[in-house]
Symmetry: C2
Subunit: 357 residues, 2 copies
DNA sequence: AGGTGCGATTTACGCACGTAAAAGTAATGC
DNA sequence: GCATTACTTTTACGTGCGTAAATCGCACCT
């Protein structure tokens, strides 16, 4: 009562902190159940009461307890996202589009990163189950993932895989790129504009890597060319793609090989290493379209327009994948026990012709 | 009782799902409080009972309800992390080191990304408060952040800023790079090995950008050179750094300027754009150390070793920053109401001399 | 004035678990 | 064989809020 500042003016100091709805109710003279209803749907409360509540909330610092609110609701309003690796702009873009789509759908996303470790991936899945997220979006690690964990998630809650699809989990919703189309697309382009490409692969840490290899071979044979794949046997099967691309091509260039070939890299990060190897050997990929060295990638990594020379590649439609994955998951969340029509959504890759090929 | 498979063998099908500890207790014949104690500290339960519980848990599918457990504990075991932007490998590396350090300290981290939007940043802070995380680690957006939200967080729970420090929040713990040292370091190097550098800046979206500008000017004057800053007036103050670097230098190169200068870019992504501009104009940065074009950056972006030419830069000690930020936060969490000795922890940048300068 | 109907309040219970106190049981020592 | 000790179980209450049912207050209408 001795606070002389509590007129109509804005309160100066920190507002009084209120911990529970109970206190809030006695602080602004509205019953607790009414407050509860107000927070869930202000329109279910008489407008004069809404005004009183708003005014009261303005005078104090109160944040509802998330745990307590969600424990009694059927839905937590959260979706869990697992990605395998953070230090890759491809995944960050994917994650960004997922977060935005989820936000628009009214969900809070909890992201966990596997950091290339199946144990961490498993822990993340447990966290999601124990927090009873409404659904989970998972980009698996690769063939080292612990699929039992994915199965448990899938059995327990709405579940959609994205980006990379394990052959060991049929019958699960998936959203990703049609690598047969995308890789076929750029192989066809390379063949049309110049010589048939060599495929610079990577260690098969990833199902997509294999899918692209297979797609490359198929398209080459369809066009009547002999496929040639290099780079599958690397020193270490990790995520250091650029050094891998560099090492493989440096090896060949040093022996005078491949200096006038077309080279299709399994992804853009490998291609960046490839460009570096070319520069090291004084080569200028893309200068002579036909008959000269050309280098192309896959994914449309954000840096592609700024490499030297700018990298020709196929873009994955990251935004569409993110949006579709969220849309599918939200649909499953709302449907609950509908007949399980599995849905595989694949997006086409679109060609980005730049300077390098 | 008609399940013929329940011998000693591994159960084949999906295990029976158990939702609550109550059911669990009656399923394996151990009282619920005992189970509760088991989950918190198995050593507080007799070993023969532990064995019975373990055996029982092996036969069913049970995950404790996170909300219910945390609601009654003083601590949630979670720390909230806010980063301003995802599509930047600098932040992903920082985040990675934070996640690992937090994991080692026994905390679960909840990451929220501001996506360059102060409103989203504010929402993330609210989420943290409502989930009563044990502490928050925040890398602010820049001068467009809503600092009132940060103040509220800081007043409510253990709070540490990292990476970027608003001048408007004195008295708050901070962990980051000593930009005076790091920028001074590379300015000194550039001057020693060649001509004094021009500073290619960026729109001041970020406090670090300003700090580096100031540090550049100071070091130049200390060495008796005239500072020259370009690029502060950009088309749009967003996170498209590479195009910015390209545009500014393309502008100058087109008029025959700067082609034989040393150019220090405010960060590596701007430098990547700068390298591209150089290549476009047939320039080869770093070839002639003294008297020729040189380009250097700041941060040691993961791609620096793979640019053409490889980029000379100063590395921020991302791992140390992440670890220190977590360590400081954990200390504040454990200390609670200790005397508030503010702590500003700054790490030195270390020179990475490569080819471009 | 009395009846009607809507919104608000009161009351009471539930969620899944933590936790403290009291009472029970088993293992150990002499 | 009995007391001591250690662990368990039982019982009961608390956490902050959702939610349903019953009660209450108020403006409106005839």
């Amino acid at each position: 009562m001795d606070d002389t500042e509590n007129g109509a003016g804005k309160p100066r100091g920190p507002k009084p902190k209120i911990a529970t709805m109970e206190e809030l109710s006695s602080a602004i003279g509205v019953s607790r159940p009414t407050l509860s209803r107000y927070f869930q749907d202000p329109s279910s409360v008489r407008s004069s009461t809404v005004a009183r509540i708003r005014e009261g909330l303005d005078r104090v610092e109160y944040v509802p307890n998330f745990f307590a609110t969600r424990m009694n609701r059927k839905s937590t309003g959260m979706i869990g996202v697992i990605i395998p690796y953070l230090n890759d702009l491809f995944f960050t873009r994917l994650l960004e589009s997922i977060e935005i789509a989820a936000m628009e759908a009214g969900f809070t996303v909890i992201t966990q990163c596997s950091h290339s470790d199946p144990a961490i991936e498993a822990r993340a899945a447990e966290t999601f189950m124990s927090m009873s997220v409404d659904g989970a979006l998972v980009a698996p690690l690769g063939n080292q993932s612990d699929f039992e964990i994915h199965e448990r998630l899938n059995a327990r809650l709405p579940f959609v895989l994205f980006d990379s699809r394990p052959s060991t989990m049929p019958g699960v919703d998936f959203v990703g790129t049609d690598h047969t189309q995308s890789t076929g697309n750029i192989v066809e382009y390379l063949c049309r504009v110049g010589d048939p490409p060599v495929f610079l692969a990577m260690p098969r840490v990833n199902f997509n890597a294999v899918e692209r290899e297979v797609a490359y071979v198929a398209k080459m044979e369809e066009l009547g060319h002999d496929p040639l794949i290099v780079g599958t046997e690397a020193v270490r099967p990790d995520w250091h793609f650029e050094p891998h691309g560099f090492a493989i091509l440096d090896h060949f260039f040093s022996r005078g090989q491949f200096a006038d070939r077309s080279i299709l890299c399994v992804n853009d990060r490998v291609a960046i290493g490839a460009l570096q190897a070319a520069a090291t050997h004084g080569l200028d990929p893309g200068r002579a379209r036909r008959g000269g060295l050309r280098i192309a990638g896959h994914d449309d990594y954000p840096l592609c327009p700024h490499t030297i020379p700018a990298l020709t590649t196929v873009a994955q439609d990251v935004e569409a994948i993110g949006r579709a994955a969220v849309a599918r998951l939200v649909k499953k969340i709302r449907a609950e026990n509908k007949p399980d029509d599995q849905l595989v959504t694949l997006f086409d890759g679109v060609l980005k012709v730049r300077e390098s090929a």
